[in-house]
């Protein structure tokens, strides 16, 4: 499946029905939604530079950290002290990095913003 919704007639019916149900709200609910929206808009918002840092800074810092970890753990890379000293290169360090691991690490760091937000929210009990 391509992930694109089918063109069954009931899907457009479902869409129309859901749209109608979203329009048919009682006055009390509409008023409560408006109050919630106004209260949300009155909240202090993160400045734009913070958003830029979150967008670019955190993933880049994460990527740099991931690269540093990969380099540090790379068992096939001889250390400077071992070169020319006659020491045997490390054969098995016990740490193996699978081919797909770097993508997972990058994904993890890209989610740092969200996890940081969750931590803050849990700390504040919000």
């Amino acid at each position: 499946m391509s992930g694109k919704p089918d063109n069954d007639p009931w899907i457009s019916d479902a869409r129309a029905l859901l749209d109608a149900s979203a329009r048919q709200l009682d006055d009390a609910t509409v008023a409560r939604l408006a109050r919630a929206r106004r209260a949300a808009l009155d909240l202090p918002r993160a400045p734009r530079w913070t958003a830029r840092w979150r967008s670019w800074g955190l993933p880049l810092a994460g990527l740099a950290a991931a690269c540093a970890i990969l380099v540090a753990l790379n068992p096939g890379h001889p250390r400077r002290a071992d070169v020319g000293s006659g020491a045997q290169p490390p054969v098995a360090s016990g740490v193996e990095i699978e081919a797909g691991a770097s993508d997972e690490i990058i994904d993890l760091y890209q989610d740092l913003e969200f996890y940081a937000w969750l931590d803050v929210r849990e700390d504040t009990g919000g």
């Binding site: 499946m1 391509s2 992930g3 919704p5 089918d6 069954d8 009931w10 899907i11 019916d13 479902a14 869409r15 029905l17 859901l18 749209d19 109608a20 149900s21 979203a22 329009r23 048919q24 709200l25 609910t29 409560r32 939604l33 919630a36 929206r37 209260a39 949300a40 808009l41 909240l43 202090p44 918002r45 993160a46 400045p47 734009r48 913070t50 958003a51 967008s55 989610d111 969200f114 937000w117 969750l118 929210r121």
Partner: protein, 197 residues
């Protein structure tokens, strides 16, 4: 004579000379428009998940607060998946709390023999009361009975019109999972509707 590139007055007005208060007002207006656009759909999604209008309003308000506090400074093009991501997170919190409360209530029921007032997530909820005909009722009932992830995928992809990548971002899962959830949701809905006939 060199041809200097002089910005037009209108450009200057639009950028450097713009009053920061105007920028803030424009941003607030844009945010207000966005929230107006998504709040009703968000409420319906929360109602499907909680089976209760009041609970849904509380969850939606928390989602609005979380979105504005943390993501309002993002480009508006990214707002929709981020808003639904926060809403999904709050719904998961609600489900977790409900599970714990359900366990506590079960323990209390064992001790005291009292009835729990925890809404049954499988209960179709208030949406059904709005449906005028049997087909509509059947559809809403079938939607309410879908597993949470399948229903969210269906609503985000089919109703909100997010693409696969945006839906995956909103639900914090892979694009492959979105396709799988949607396929299963469509299959389940189709089967339930045919059973209704």
């Amino acid at each position: 004579m060199p041809n200097f590139c002089v910005p037009a007055i209108s450009e200057l007005n639009a950028t450097a000379l713009q009053d920061p208060r105007d920028v803030n007002a424009a941003e607030a207006a844009s945010l207000d428009e966005f929230l107006k656009r998504v709040e009703r759909r968000g409420l319906r999604m929360a109602e499907f998940a909680t089976g209760s209008r009041e609970e849904a309003l509380d969850v939606l308000q928390e989602a609005m607060f979380g979105f504005v506090r943390h993501y309002a400074a993002k480009p508006p093009a990214e707002w929709a998946p981020l808003f639904y991501r926060v809403l999904d997170s709050r719904l998961n919190d609600w489900r977790r709390r409900r599970r714990v409360l359900g366990q506590r209530f079960t323990a209390m029921d064992d001790d005291e023999g009292g009835a729990s007032d925890v809404p049954d997530p499988g209960e179709p909820g208030p949406l059904l009361r709005l449906a005028g005909d049997q087909a509509g009722s059947a559809l809403l009932d079938a939607l309410a009975r879908l597993p949470h992830r399948q229903r969210q995928t269906f609503l985000l992809r089919v109703w909100e019109g997010l693409d696969v990548a945006a839906t995956a971002a909103a639900m914090r899962c892979s694009e492959g999972s979105v396709k799988t959830h949607l396929s299963r949701a469509l299959e389940n809905l189709r089967r339930r509707l045919e059973t209704w006939k």
